[in-house]
Symmetry: C3
Subunit: 194 residues, 3 copies
């Protein structure tokens, strides 16, 4: 069963599921106007999506997730529940965002980038702690952000980097583990979603 | 066509496939009690799953795979056939486990972690050789385990590490290529699946 | 709606979509003989696939993509449109190939490997520039190829490597960022798809 409140001009492919009823008392999924949900994508109940939300195929948005306006969620990307995403955000193919993550406005997450929320999985009992990505952050392909890490506004995470500590605003994080460097002149400033 | 032997209290979403008949003479998939298979997930014939098997969406379990009890197989995770998995194992979103892999009890595999089985793909003719993960092993997000590598009991593989050689028990493997270090005091001991 | 021109002996699972009509005036998808498209896989219109094209589950081939003969496209692998792939190519589970990429003959792409096409996503306006992989290239699991990089014929990219500059023919690229080394003797020569 599915339940959803759809605004005007929402296009949902036949093979997509919007309002997956994971529990009987869940609230309907809310989808803003001018949105497009492609085949194979699943959006749970208890999700609020802004206007202009566009997905690829086989993406997943689980419960208690809130997304702003004009967000692209790529093919096979996963917002795994209890996630907050801003507006004008581009989340590319295969990205994983775990519960407790916060993503600002005008953020880019490259293909197969992974955010995490558990520092010592199965070993030490800790509170799960999602990463926090400030506005205008760009994260490269296959990069990994460790639990509880904050990436400051306008910073860049290079492809394949493993970010183990907080990154101040307007910095470049590169390598494994990531070194924090000044941002090259040509990369200062904010992001613009084309 | 699908064929499956389901124990009591197995819940299968309408859009899931259990017992994908990849060849006409395959044996039905066996699913233990109290299991839950979510939309988009495919389980092949010639698979035996223990009790309490729970999947996310779009996961895949191919033929000649055996899984113990109380295993979680995350969204888009793949057990690509001829795989053995123990009990109380947590396999997160996007993990890839190739043919010939062996995974012990109480193992954690983080998001987009990859095990491999072919050292020189397409180039040198070698026997495919899967990795062996001992009991209580935790593998971080986006980590890669090379073919034939054994990870000893209780060892930790850090996020983004590329493990190119065997890791003894109770060690930490970190970096590219992974260095093997003593396990920090707070990480000694075994895993507990919450 | 779907539209496709299928050669002889093409087997398409019920849950696969061949000829996804992303725009009304698109040309039908063309699929060569002896091909097999498994459940959950989507092939767009304006795609030409050679003979012997075999997919796993939930793979995606978007528009304006051309693929040669005897290509394997693994489970959840994505050819994201405007991609050219040669013959006798093996693309493993979870691989991402962005628009503008060119992949030669007898190429291997390991699980979760990522090609990219945008050096400064959302930040600096540049032309998207895909990677070019020459014939007989092998790319390891979880490796990342940066935009516009050319990998020369017969070169090997190690698992987890991040390739930031061109790689000449018959070299080994290893590490983050990748160092370019001579190819070990046992790896010289071309690839053979088993």
């Amino acid at each position: 069963m599915t339940r959803a409140d759809l605004a005007a001009d929402v296009q949902i492919d036949d093979g997509a599921t919007v309002g997956y009823e994971y529990t009987p008392d869940a609230e309907p999924a809310v989808v803003g106007r001018d949105s497009q949900i492609r085949d194979g994508t699943t959006v749970y109940c208890d999700v609020e999506l802004g206007s202009g939300f566009v997905t690829g195929h086989d993406a997943l948005v689980r419960e208690h997730t809130t997304v702003g306006d004009d967000v692209v969620l790529g093919t096979k990307a996963v917002l795994d529940g209890h996630v907050t995403v801003g507006s004008d955000v581009s989340i590319q193919t295969g990205v994983y965002v775990p519960p407790g993550s916060t993503v600002g406005d005008r953020v880019f997450l490259g293909p197969n980038a992974v955010l995490t929320n558990d520092a010592y999985p199965l070993r030490v009992e800790t509170d799960l702690e999602g990463a926090v990505l400030g506005d205008d952050v760009s994260v490269g392909a296959n990069a990994t952000i460790l639990p509880g890490v904050t990436i400051g506004e306008g910073s860049f995470v290079a492809a394949g980097a493993v970010v183990t500590e907080d990154v101040p605003p307007q910095r470049l994080a590169v390598g494994v583990p990531a070194e924090i460097r000044p941002l090259p002149d040509e990369l200062t400033g904010g992001n613009v979603l084309a």
